[in-house]
Symmetry: C2
Subunit: 384 residues, 2 copies
Amino acid sequence: MEARSRFEVTARDPGCQARAGVLHTRRGPVETPVFMPVGTAGTVKALDPAEVEALGYRLILGNTYHLMLRPGADTVRAHGGLHGFMAWPHAVLTDSGGFQVWSLAHRRKILEEGVRFRSHIDGDLHLLTPERAVELQEALGADIMMALDECAPHDAAPRYLDQSLARTTRWAERCLRARSPAGGALFGIAQGALDVPRRLRHLAELAAMPFEGLALGGLSVGEGPDRMDAVLAEVVPAMPAERPRYLMGVGTPLDLLRGVGHGLDMFDCVLPTRNARNGSLFTWQGPIQIRNARHARDTGPVDASCACPTCRRFSRSYLRHLFLADEMLGLRLNTLHNLHFMAELMRRVREAIRLGRYPAWAAETLAALGAPPLRPLDPPGNKK
Amino acid sequence: MEARSRFEVTARDPGCQARAGVLHTRRGPVETPVFMPVGTAGTVKALDPAEVEALGYRLILGNTYHLMLRPGADTVRAHGGLHGFMAWPHAVLTDSGGFQVWSLAHRRKILEEGVRFRSHIDGDLHLLTPERAVELQEALGADIMMALDECAPHDAAPRYLDQSLARTTRWAERCLRARSPAGGALFGIAQGALDVPRRLRHLAELAAMPFEGLALGGLSVGEGPDRMDAVLAEVVPAMPAERPRYLMGVGTPLDLLRGVGHGLDMFDCVLPTRNARNGSLFTWQGPIQIRNARHARDTGPVDASCACPTCRRFSRSYLRHLFLADEMLGLRLNTLHNLHFMAELMRRVREAIRLGRYPAWAAETLAALGAPPLRPLDPPGNKK
């Protein structure tokens, strides 16, 4: 049987933990480090899938929670999965639905069996078990699936956190047993809040299982970039080096570049697309707010060095006009720009790693972007 | 000096007044009969201009009223006109601003000098004179400009209607005098509500002036297709045959096909784009409402015979999902479909005229679309 996925590391930076590689999925290769745009409800908001493809993306994320509630996994399966449903020919990673159950659903209750909740759309009662999470993701046609986990709050009592981590481990085993032979790859999710010893212990439990990749969940949920960075510096080097390492729900250019420096390979976040819809646009000199009056008569592009479909054709003045006039095209052009920026940022990340100058490149880039300085990245082999 | 525009009739249907032709604008030829998508605020809502172009459109409409208020004509001029502002390389027709002053502005007052009104956006006071209307349209870079007119209500007293028509005639003369040598073509607008003798008289006044084309205003404003059709049957044959004839703000496939049969060449309307955003989609068997539950599991396209970018890739089920989930992409895919339908409808119109079988083709097409039957079209030469 063909492997569900295969990961190869093709370059390691000599000055930090960063590595570049290729994640071979059922639907083609994906160069890492990679940022995945989020296609919440079967669409990367404001874009046509052909535009996402043209920006260079070959892997996007779909949200199981949203899709199981609307239109329902059976409807997506009737289209041959998300690929047929949303006309996206490349790889799809789906989350387990767990995170949105914590953040969106009503009256949720965690049982050993799974999590019971009411839909935030119509109040209907649902039970999401590890087996159901895998079944749903297979119905969605996911090339990479995520195990069902509990994202315990950072202020959870140690006793609760221990119970939660143990349950997530049991759920992870059930997810592995539940998947069908023809299904996609499955990644486990290590939790542990900001408690490094517990994170390392949970990670070791999951690393012992035959997941095709491992993810860190429960970070970038309000703890701030400094505290997340400190946890990553200790935890990422302990993740199995031969498997892809995925930091879920991250993030800003700062978080991405630091995460790569710690040895992470995969990232996803709604930030670039959500910011775009709020009129906050990346430039290589830091973000701008397109609604500001200073752009009113500016016939130049958002970023003069940017080759995106927006900057090649449209001015700041026009984008500001569309934003103030509530014209949909503005949200789309903004989204195209921000996702192009992220794709270009990750291309430069991979290039810097191949050239073996990642730490210096990342520091220069972050300084230009106006990000706060952080301590130097750890060199390779500096495992805590 | 090169002509501001040139119109040639290339085919006449033997069975009715319909004719096909080419309107040569400063920015290239436009085949007629033509439907113009409306780009209200410098964007055809929900679409990228490259998409409008790919659908085959070479002439779109911009609204002077909207653009003069936001972002302001000077801002558009600083981009080299609407073409540079919205990245549209083909022809643009702008209205005079008059119609939106009647329909949107607050506290308007008609003076001999022009119309005074307050912006519906910020309440600022504006005076739109015939000279200012031309100046604004030239700033917008219009290839075809419209003279400022008053669209008097259909229930206006005859005495008021006579005053209004006389003033619109004086405004038309002032518009002609105001335009600059390098400006675009200028069309006059004949009014007269549903009063055929007054319409014919006003039309004769405007036809005597050197406009590059003539338009009928003040129709399709609630009188119903039957009454409009009756007025058109009497009025259109009296419009100069050697100049393009434009029916403003129209309309439905029924109105378009009847208008063409009466000898009209140009049309514009927000209906196909607005309906698309409301989930009402054209098919060659009549419109469908995409939100209806019967489309929930339908993996087929909106119209199996349609070659638009939406029908080629996406199912009714997916479009319904996007509509119910309030996803922008749905409004865009719906708009692409409806504007493709209108472009294809007009291609078939022109082909039927060239083949000399327009009346039969139009009757068959309207029957398939579920439009109510109307009386037969008048043969050519049947001038009232």
